[in-house]
């Protein structure tokens, strides 16, 4: 094995958790609605697979500068625009880093992580998922939105690879075609039986054998389930005693697709102790299985993400947030939001990275302007770049605007004061309930700035969120 380790892993979930009981109740007349147990994580209107992956990646960067950035998703908002490239700008990583988007299967994230661990170089793998499904279908309830990221490289790290195996099998537990764009499911019993016997059991056995580790020595088994009961059958067949964090994630947030195994890995490493052995599986038309030895602990982001949030109990709002209802927003929604390609190239790296500038006298501002805003500045000055995304900030002014169009009213915005002196007019996100007060602490989130509905293009910028998320009810 190459001496390349997992250096950090992180998980991110959107604020809202939809209570599945509500869907069951709303759809009772139809007999549809899927499982009524637990919650599913629901992305805000301005979150997508990329923005959530960026948020997850923020939890792992800084340990080392990765030479390769990989974005993994089956629900990327673009088919021909490098999301890894936008991520490089958002995280202000080197424009010379290799950018790669991987897709085609939920396994893509784990496959990329395996390759990164085998490569001997430092790589960032960030997976995000915001998958569409029709109301009434199983996936509309079982899917969840979220992201996870892993960073590899030389060093002690938090885990090392001790064995792996892979198998390919065109098992269509569900399939999403380019033309249909929505999942089409096979019979659950067939899926479970074949996932267990043809995919998981032989591949996990092979990986454990390569690692020279007995099934009973595994303390955490991160095994995404294509359908409930899969892991129980796998564990029974192999003698695994370990708990599977994916079961907890599925119940509390839903199946996170390409992000599921990495989120599960983050959760397992929040709880594991050095020396313990982990199993990490990526599932989708076969599987990749990694056996890892724990050498450290992750930062607790996944556990915190599961514990914090706000319950969503409106089915119609869920339909709106998941793009499954066409509301007539009136003429105010007709505003032209076309983005200029030349403007984006000229300003995109500063906008995506929230890069302001420190002027010659030390004042920080965003955006950089030819002549600084500092009152005694009289002519153009050179700036030193200042990244604002992690700088503490507070509210100067704010309102909940109910007049202008936003896909999920009301529209919160106002002036934000950063601790380093910068002041920026910003949109807010993740506000539920009461309008935050002047002086309240904020943290920045990478979000969709605007969606140009005429051309189906989206732009990205940062928005201000309350610094702390509320804790979910314990049963959530």
């Amino acid at each position: 094995m190459a001496d390349n380790r997992l250096l950090a892993v992180s998980g991110y979930l959107p604020l809202l958790r939809f209570d599945r009981k509500v869907a069951r109740s709303e759809l009772r007349w139809s007999g549809l609605g899927g499982s009524e147990r637990g919650f599913r994580a629901v992305a805000a209107w301005d979150e997508d697979a990329l923005t959530m992956a960026v948020e997850a990646a923020r939890g792992v960067i800084g340990k080392t500068e990765p030479g390769s950035i990989i974005f993994a998703s089956t629900s990327s908002p673009f088919t021909d625009r490098s999301m890894a490239g936008v991520m490089i700008d958002a995280l202000q990583l080197s424009p010379g880093a290799m950018a790669q988007d991987v897709s085609g299967s939920r396994r893509a994230g784990v496959s990329a992580l395996l390759k990164a661990l085998l490569s001997g170089s430092s790589e960032l793998v960030a997976a995000g998922e915001k998958r569409a499904a029709l109301p009434g279908s199983g996936p509309h309830m079982t899917f969840g939105d979220g992201a996870a990221a892993a960073l590899t490289g030389p060093g002690e790290g938090i885990a090392r690879l001790v064995g792996w195996a892979t198998v390919n099998a065109d098992l269509l537990d569900f399939v999403t075609s380019a033309e249909r764009g929505l999942p089409y499911e096979a019979e659950a019993r067939f899926v479970r039986d074949e996932a267990v016997s043809a995919i998981y059991v032989p591949t996990i056995s092979a990986a454990l054998e390569k690692a020279g580790i007995a099934a009973t020595d595994i303390t955490h088994a991160v095994v995404p389930e294509p359908t409930a009961g899969t892991y129980a059958a796998v564990a029974k067949a192999l003698g695994l005693k370990a708990s599977n964090p994916c079961e907890e994630i599925a119940a509390k947030a839903g199946d996170l697709g390409a992000a599921m195994p990495l989120f599960g890995l983050a959760l397992a490493l929040d709880r594991a102790k050095p020396g313990e052995k982990l199993l990490l599986a990526g599932f989708g038309n076969g599987c990749d299985v990694l056996v890892l030895e724990v050498t450290g602990q992750s930062g607790g982001s996944a556990a915190a993400a599961l514990a914090q949030g706000a319950v969503l109990s409106s089915y119609s709002r869920l339909l709106n947030l998941t793009g499954q209802i066409a509301l007539d927003w009136g003429p105010r929604a007709e505003v032209n939001q076309k983005v200029s390609a030349s403007t984006l190239l000229r300003h995109g790296r500063d906008v995506h990275g929230f890069v302001g500038g420190r002027d010659a006298a030390g004042n920080v501002q965003f955006p950089k302007t030819p002549i600084p805003v500092r009152p005694d500045a009289s002519g153009p000055e050179a700036y030193q770049d200042v990244i604002l995304r992690d700088v503490p900030a507070t509210i100067v002014s704010i309102t909940a605007d109910r007049l202008n169009f936003t896909p999920d009213p009301p529209f919160y915005f106002g002036l934000v004061q950063f601790e380093n002196g910068a002041r920026v007019a910003m949109e807010h996100c993740d506000v539920e309930g009461k309008t935050p007060e002047v002086g309240a602490a904020l943290r920045m989130r990478f979000r969709v700035k605007a969606i140009d509905r005429q051309r189906q293009f989206r732009s990205y910028f940062w928005k201000a969120a309350p610094a702390k998320r509320p804790n979910l009810p314990v049963e959530g």
Binding site: H347, F366, P375, V396, D401, N404, F411
Partner: protein, 400 residues
Amino acid sequence: MASGIKDKVVILGMGCTEFGERWNMSSDMLMVEAFGEALSDAGIEKNMIGAAWLGSALDDVNVGNSAIPLATALRLQNIPVTRVENMCATGTEALRGAVYAVAAGAVDIAMALGVEKLKDTGFGGLPIRTKGTVNDLWMPYGSAPGTFAQLAGAYQAEHSIKAEDLKRGMAHVSWKSHQNGALSPKAHLRKPVDMDTIVNAPMIADPLGLYDCCGVSDGAACAIVTTPEIARSLGKALDELVAVKALQICTSHGWESQYGEWDGASVRNTQVAASRAYREAGIKDPRDDISVTEVHDCFSITELVTMEDLGLSDAGRAVFDYLDGRYDHDGAIPAQVDGGLKCFGHPVGASGLRMAYEVYTQLLGRAGQRQLRKVNFGLTHNLGGQPSNSVSSVSIFGKL
């Protein structure tokens, strides 16, 4: 050393259309209506006008860009006509152009006309506009109520005012304007509204409810200006000459929105413009000298904070001054006696000139049942853009 504008220019005549939902009128018809009244009031022929300024803030709504729409509507033949746009200060900006041209001696008689045809947008409120390709990448798309509502929260926090006191103070601002609008024949909204209705109205942008917001209207207003000497030569009596005492505009340069000093609870451009205007007009104590104001009450909180920025109320006290009736029609310094933006209406490019029209009307004692007993100096004020990024104008008028 600049000597200022005081008493160099007088108003020869003014006109103002009825503001409101003028479904059967296009912008050219509104221009003709306002101009006709002004020309008649001035008692001159059209061909005596040497230059004209058109104020129109939203060129995408029925007026069109350039000054050609004005020249065409009025058939102004072979004179310089200029279009200006400075958001809600547009009407005053047009007046400034005409006044400066006369004061400079460039022309004998000049005209300013502001017009806006907003009710052809197909929805209530102002049209939604982009802020340019660069700003659209990061700047919030807030509505006008949203941008001004920011003032309320910051003002409340800065002065430790209870939310319910602020709400009632703002409600009194609107209540007073509805009372006044009912006496104003050309006003858009001419119906009194009680305090409970105002306080309990649906929320538009926290904490501004429906009645804290002015609507948008169609309308036009026009001023014809000249020198005192020419006015006299045209037969105007000395006691019917209303002079421009001050015209000041102050524009944001990013300090409020990008530099970390502003508290968000006041509008510095208004403070600066007012200070310069008082100096230009020779006003020592505005609380004694200003008899009537027409301020930019696009939202109740704007009017309330403006009274502090103009120095007519102490900082943090305007809420209580309003509740005490200080700015009512029978108060110490009546405000918005024609109903203001709130009730007379707000066709953006015309509003600054409409304010001047009311002050001119009051100074000449022509205001009918809303006429004030004693009018010394009248003040008009516009606030374009938003408190954090604004254009503010303060103008003062009085008898020559």
